[in-house]
Amino acid sequence: GAGVSQSPSNKVTEKGKDVELRCDPISGHTALYWYRQSLGQGLEFLIYFQGNSAPDKSGLPSDRFSAERTGGSVSTLTIQRTQQEDSAVYLCASSLQVTDTQYFGPGTRLTVL
């Protein structure tokens, strides 16, 4: 079956602009996660959604970052007023439940000039 998909695969933006990154989880997975992979910080948890519960936002680095999940499926990660330190690969994952194995998408490489 189809895995986790993310779009775009690459995004180049200018400092100060807003960007939206999209994630399509595996069908039927109730949990969805966002991670960031950068040279300086490695792989970091950002946020996760489980069903209709309030998301766990404890990993978001600043209030410029936000995410939503519409209809319990597709998720969008939004970064406002991008900074150069936001340059990274943003990974999305999904799992059947929050206690189950996470399956990762290919990532979106964000470059902020």
Partner: protein, 116 residues
């Protein structure tokens, strides 16, 4: 609090020789432990996971790992390396308490190079 330390940032092996990637973890609760692999420009792929069942865990592509609570280790091994094993490997911990579920903590990664 949970944390994970991968003891080697780079490992170089010859094709056909054993591979050992070392990982130590810290967790206040019964953890779940994972090894993921990332090939260049590809997503993370799960190799294997430990979730408090058998301490010796077998994964895909001939990899296995042993959970040793007394040593707080979860080392990854493979008897014979293949060229296709060249990739970055991540040891990952998820602490076994409800406010940590879903928050995977990744090690810094070990880059594996396989030489002919």
């Amino acid at each position: 609090a949970q944390s994970v330390t991968q003891l080697d940032s780079h490992v170089s092996v010859s094709e056909g020789t054993p591979v050992l990637l070392r990982c130590n973890y810290s967790s206040s609760y019964s953890p779940s432990l994972f090894w993921y692999v990332q090939h260049p420009n590809k997503g993370l792929q799960l190799l294997l996971k430990y979730t408090s069942a058998a301490t010796l865990v077998k994964g895909i592509n001939g990899f296995e790992a042993e959970f040793k609570k007394s040593e707080t280790s979860f080392h990854l091994t493979k008897p014979s390396a293949h060229m296709s094993d060249a990739a970055e490997y991540f040891c990952v911990v998820s602490e076994g308490r409800c406010d940590s579920w879903g928050k995977l903590q990744f090690g810094a990664g070990t880059q594996v190079v396989v030489t002919p």
